[in-house]
Symmetry: C2
Subunit: 226 residues, 2 copies
């Protein structure tokens, strides 16, 4: 993790800015891989589908990364933002809930490639405990707190049904988890100091149907980042 530049350490950075940074990293890495070593905020904005002013403003919270008249070095900026986010290390992740969704998440290679290793699996239901998934053994819920604490895991994924999601989250937090990715269709209550992001495809679909009616025109090119 790099040091922020002087005058930036204490600024309170809006969460909405933080949520856009991963998309910048992904896009900049892609540009770099395609042989583009430098890019203006204008061109980057076109790739991402936001405004150039927004990119410049977002970056200004962290320092000065561009060269006037030239633009940004794609490789340097990608790895600088990645470092600000803490993506220059691998993070251990615990996952609870091994139904269809949980298994698909364990099989998914995208997390490991992007700084996250799922290293512990839990399930509420006895018939799943002891099963092997992705070379790991599924443990019972009552071990969540202990295992997370022992291994120093800071990130949890909740993939089980709504009815057990809060209890699982509570046990993860008791073990020291400070970030939860929640796939359950329920709003988790967490103490301050814990960040939650919801993955809610059903709500996403249900909100889009509004624009399929005879209401107002749709006209949004929404770029939700979750």
């Amino acid at each position: 993790m790099i040091a922020l530049q002087p005058g930036h350490e204490t600024a309170q950075i809006p969460d909405i800015v933080i949520r856009r940074l991963p998309v910048y990293v992904r896009t900049l890495r892609d540009l770099h891989e395609r042989g583009i070593s430098s890019i203006s905020s204008d061109d980057l904005a076109k790739h991402i589908g936001v405004t150039a002013a927004q990119i410049r403003r977002d970056l200004s919270y962290f320092g000065k990364f561009g060269k006037q008249g030239k633009g940004y070095d794609t490789a340097y900026l990608a790895e600088t933002i990645a470092s600000i986010l803490g993506l220059d290390k691998q993070w251990d992740v615990a996952l609870a809930g091994l139904g269809n969704l949980g298994r698909a998440i364990v099989r998914y290679r995208g997390f490991a490639d992007e700084s996250f290793n799922i290293v512990a699996l839990f399930d509420h239901f006895a018939d799943r405990v002891g099963q092997e998934v992705g070379e790991m053994t599924v443990l019972p819920d009552d071990q969540i707190t202990k295992v997370i604490q022992e291994r120093g895991i800071k990130i949890g994924i909740v993939a089980g049904p709504a009815a057990v999601a809060q209890s699982v989250a509570d046990q993860m937090i008791a073990g020291g988890v400070q970030a939860i990715l929640n796939y359950a269709p329920v709003v988790l209550k967490v103490p301050s100091g814990v960040t939650v992001r919801e993955i809610d495809p059903v709500s996403a679909l249900q909100s889009m149907t509004y624009y399929l009616g005879d209401h107002g025109d749709s006209h949004l090119d929404d770029q939700d980042t979750d």
Copy 2:
């Protein structure tokens, strides 16, 4: 779909409000099922994890649904909002991309329960074409436009890899799709009139790691609805 009350037909309602409505519907239906027939904005806010003023303001875009001194009728409000969103009918959905993720989505019962039926499957890769998934035959990409048009499908799910996502989306849109749920880690370019919501768990995780560093305190109980 119910008629909006007079004076509300033409108001331009913020998308951020629309995106919160599914959570209101879900919570109100749950309260109703648990035998709670009436609730104040204050109590509803506590259940959802937002402020009471926000709920009242959000609802005010659509009409007056409460009884002063009493609160809201849970069943009535749930079905009224559902109707505003267009959830009082089932919507046909086309899905492209039948890797692990796509198969998990087809198997997932949550969509069908919440107004969405996946009725057509497509894949770019020849070895998946012709396979049976969830009692449907996987069709090749070059049939996307035709089948969507013939069946009048308005909603698409893009579950394939980033490299083919834009091309698949373009073909869906050519067939008449106006709403896309995008699981691919790429920003889709779509014409005005088409709504896109991103499902991006990797970005969600990557943004939370920011708060696990020695930056500012985490303090957010984020309620992302996508």
